[in-house]
């Protein structure tokens, strides 16, 4: 079989599953789930350091094997272009001139829908400053196109609300974005279980980014493995090219002739 790698901003990744590091029971479970998922890219958030009583607490980065994962710092929780840009400048400093980032600028604390106006603004600044911007956005193909024109290296539309596990609610819009995009399109947000990941990949997505679907499963490590297989299965099915759907016309898989029969011809 042909090599089938994901290329983002000129770098090649073997896995098409990107995994977040939030909401796990502890760092040990985070590390085990990441390992089981087979992912190459993991997202991290940037937050104010705990001062005072928790000064000695362990850090997430100490639990991730060095050089195994590409870290993808995000701007989760930012509601303005300015905050998002500042956060990613801090991330670049924190991670030693790291350029690959996930931009998300939110517009509502309840539904976590992206504020596309602020997202576009932040994307322009970040691209100018040399960041490789993977951008979380709505599934609006017009916005997706603008983000690509600005120079984002990957478009990451939501499939349903962040952390909702509602699955792929609008495959048609995703497909419009996939068909028009020259850069990778990854579903970011909404996947709930392995079949959702497979559906996203069957649509032709280049990858899937998820966090809660794994972390909030009863057994996160096992779900991480399920997601790995779901993404792989969906990708292979996409590459294989599914059979056309035949509405109202069954065709048997076995020969029609030669069936033993007690019926009198």
């Amino acid at each position: 079989m042909q090599q089938d790698a994901l290329v983002i901003a000129g770098k090649t990744y073997q896995s098409r599953l990107l995994v977040g590091t939030g909401k796990y029971k502890d760092f040990q479970q985070t590390a085990e789930a990441l390992d089981a998922s087979g992912c190459d890219i993991v997202t991290v958030a940037i937050r104010r350091v705990n001062l005072g009583q928790n000064a000695g607490e362990p850090n997430l980065l100490d639990f991730l094997p060095k050089n195994r994962y590409t870290l993808l710092p995000n701007t989760a929780g930012c509601y303005s272009a300015d905050d998002a840009v500042r956060t990613l400048r801090l991330a670049r400093e924190l991670l030693d001139d790291h350029r690959l980032v996930k931009l998300e600028v939110l517009g509502d604390p309840n539904n976590l829908f992206p504020n596309v106006r602020e997202t576009l603004k932040a994307a322009e600044t970040l691209v100018k400053e040399g960041f490789d911007v993977m951008v979380y956005t709505s599934d609006d193909p017009i916005v997706a196109r603008e983000l690509e024109q600005i120079g984002c290296c990957a478009i990451m539309p939501l499939a349903s609300l962040i952390g909702s596990g509602m699955g792929i609610l609008n495959p048609w819009n995703l497909q419009l974005i996939i068909e028009q995009s020259q850069v990778p399109v990854l579903v970011d947000a909404g996947v709930g279980t392995a079949s959702d990941a497979a559906i996203a990949m069957e649509l032709g997505c280049d990858g899937v980014l998820m966090n809660t679907a794994i972390a909030a499963a009863q057994d996160p490590v096992r779900m991480a493995m399920a997601m790995k297989l779901g993404v792989q299965a969906g990708r292979e099915a996409y590459l294989a090219g599914r059979m056309p759907k035949r509405f109202y016309s069954a065709t048997p898989s076995s020969p029609r002739e030669g069936v033993i029969s007690s019926r009198q011809g």
Binding site: G22, A45, L51, N74, R89, A91, E93, L94
Partner: protein, 68 residues
């Protein structure tokens, strides 16, 4: 005796805390993976020792945490 805005809170430090490096030590953050923004500008790690702390400075000190 500088008073600074540290991660959104007003904090007082004694006069021995005169550079960013002093502050990092005072906060017991030495050796940790952190990044610092001072008055809206990133201060690279290599400049922590040479960056003076002034009264009224607004600092953000961040780390990487779990997130999606």
């Amino acid at each position: 005796m500088p008073t600074i805005q540290l991660n959104g809170e007003s904090r007082h430090f004694d006069a021995t805390v005169s550079t960013l490096s002093d502050l990092i030590t005072a906060l017991e953050l030495g050796g940790k993976r952190i990044a610092i923004e001072c008055n809206g500008e990133i201060v690279p790690r290599s400049q922590h020792a040479s960056t003076p702390l002034s009264d009224g400075d607004a600092l953000e000190i961040v780390v990487a945490v779990g997130g999606g």
